[in-house]
């Protein structure tokens, strides 16, 4: 089940007003669509930290 307004109320104690429910759902629908377009081979990476080293190279 997609996270939605009920999910936020039940798990995060966030009281979502009625007028936010539809745009919240629309936002997540869009995020699911964008995520579905991600090439999952690009996720095969053990690292998550992103910082810059003095020479401009990467520094974990």
């Amino acid at each position: 089940m997609d996270p939605n307004a009920s999910h936020l109320r039940e798990t995060r104690d966030i009281a979502v007003p009625a007028e936010d429910e539809a745009p919240l759902a629309a936002h997540w629908t869009k995020m699911r669509r964008l995520r579905s377009q991600v090439d999952e081979s690009r996720l095969a990476d053990a690292e998550i930290a992103v910082t810059w080293a003095p020479t401009g190279g990467q520094h974990a």
Partner: protein, 471 residues
């Protein structure tokens, strides 16, 4: 000669340093403009009138006794109101922090104070920097000096509007997902987002910890370089601060682009862009070619994932900052900000970490592209300047989601922490400014500023400046 309040740091510094002009005269000129126009523009949240004049008199006395500190000495500047001044209110443009007083100056404030800046006050912003309009429900709707019915952009809209209307000589803004570059573009001024970690974030209220930047907003490229040189450099109080000395970009600006290669990623940066915007940017590219640059087409396929990765990271981090207040006092947020914070509560830990993986992979891809080009260039924004209050923007007369399109093209430099300058490159057929963005490799501020400086020399706006606010 331009009126005092319209002059650049570079011009004024020569005149102040030689004592032709007093910091008091300059400060009074700017304060007079604030008094005349800010009721309409709402560029400021708080004006430090008496304090600014005291600072200006102190600068005047110090300079008269031979103690000239450098190009920023006696220069009046406005500071976005999410950057702390000790013992003064910093509101973040919010109701919740309407009485917040920090115990210490932000590092950037200390550095500007050491340089002798005269602080004019705190500039209006989108609430908590969480939006692209500076339509602030608590401190007033900021207006675009080019057209008072149009948005100045955000979240550093007060900074952009003040610069375009000569209500400050220079300003600081902050940029997480475009908040320096968006108002710079809509207000026709310069906005520089430095490399992540180049400028200390200490004493700046966080929007998203791994995306936040403080940077200069000015009327000229050289002025942006002068301010960057003053505020940059390692700060142990910022855990993300790079172990780098301050930059020295202003004294090294180039006047030609011989030997410089400019990359154009046309399928990303020119995809679904208003024709007038594209025309102005391509004319700017041609000018850069005339000034000696080689133009090289590029393809960076991974850019298509920027929107998802940036949204996951930005909204998750922002909502973490605000979680307790969103839970306990949601009614004290503006409606648009509250909704954004609710969106940030949706992603899972897996979503956030996958977004960071995308970020890391894309950083390598873009880093490799700088093996063949010095900078990337494209439009800052794809849309025309929207009307105040509009949730939609326009591309060739077609309505599009404004917020989504504000972030779309500025997203890569945001996500990857790369230095990026937005500067005007022409006027659209409606007379409003259009800007291009110049993206450099990490720590490549000099390259970015060099290209911008050369374009600026061609005077893409001619003598046209904002004037609607004067009527």
């Amino acid at each position: 000669m331009l009126e005092l309040a319209a002059q650049s740091i570079d011009e004024l510094s020569r005149r102040i340093g030689s004592r032709e002009v007093s910091p008091v005269e300059v400060t009074e000129a700017v304060l007079n403009n604030i008094g005349r126009y800010d009721d309409t523009l709402k560029a400021y949240i708080d004006v430090y009138r008496d304090h600014a004049l005291d600072d200006a008199r102190a600068a005047e006395a110090e300079i008269a006794s031979g103690g000239y500190r450098g190009p920023l000495h006696g220069i009046p500047m406005g500071i976005k109101d999410n950057i702390y001044f000790a013992d003064r209110v910093t509101t973040m443009g919010s109701k919740i922090h309407s009485e917040f007083v920090a115990g210490a100056n932000a590092t950037v404030v200390d550095r500007l104070a050491d340089a002798g800046v005269v602080f004019l006050g705190k500039l209006n912003m989108h609430e908590y920097a969480l939006g692209g309009t500076t339509d602030n429900p608590f401190y007033g709707t900021c207006r675009n000096p080019w057209d008072l019915d149009k948005s100045p952009g955000g979240s550093s809209g007060g900074s952009g509007a003040a610069l375009a209307s000569n209500l400050t000589i220079a300003a600081l803004g902050t940029d997480t997902s475009g908040s320096i570059r968006i108002p710079a573009a809509f207000c026709g001024i310069m906005g520089l987002k430095p490399t992540y970690g180049r400028v200390s974030r200490f004493g700046c209220f966080p929007e998203a910890w791994t995306l936040d930047h403080i940077g200069p907003m000015t009327r000229t490229v050289r002025d942006a370089a002068i301010v960057l040189d003053a505020i940059s450099g390692h700060d142990a109080r910022d855990p993300g601060s790079l172990p780098q000395p301050p930059t020295t970009t202003a004294s090294a600006l180039r006047d030609t682009l011989e030997g410089v290669t400019i990359g154009i990623v046309e399928d990303f940066f020119f995809h679904d862009v208003d024709d007038e915007v594209a025309r102005c940017v391509w004319e700017g590219v041609e000018e850069l070619r005339r000034q000696g640059a080689t133009i090289r087409p590029l393809c960076i396929p991974g850019l298509v994932d920027v929107e998802w990765a940036l949204t996951m990271i930005d909204t998750s981090e922002t909502s973490t900052v605000h979680h307790a207040n969103l839970r306990d006092r949601p009614q004290d947020y503006g409606d648009d900000v509250r909704l954004l914070l609710e969106c940030g509560e949706l992603p899972s830990a897996v979503d956030y970490l996958e977004a960071q993986q995308i970020r890391r992979r894309l950083r390598r891809e873009v880093h490799n592209s700088f093996d063949t080009v010095d900078v990337l260039v494209g439009p800052t924004l794809p849309i025309r300047t929207p009307r105040i209050g509009a949730v939609e923007g326009s591309i060739n007369g077609r309505s599009v989601d404004a917020l989504e399109n504000l972030i779309r093209l500025v997203g890569p430099a945001s996500l990857l922490g790369l230095p990026c300058l937005s500067l005007p490159c022409g006027l659209a057929d409606d007379g409003l400014p259009v800007s291009m963005q110049i993206i450099g490799p990490a720590l490549g501020e000099q390259k970015v500023l060099d290209v911008g400086h050369v374009l600026e020399l061609s005077e893409p706006l001619g003598l046209t400046r904002a004037s609607a606010y004067r009527r």
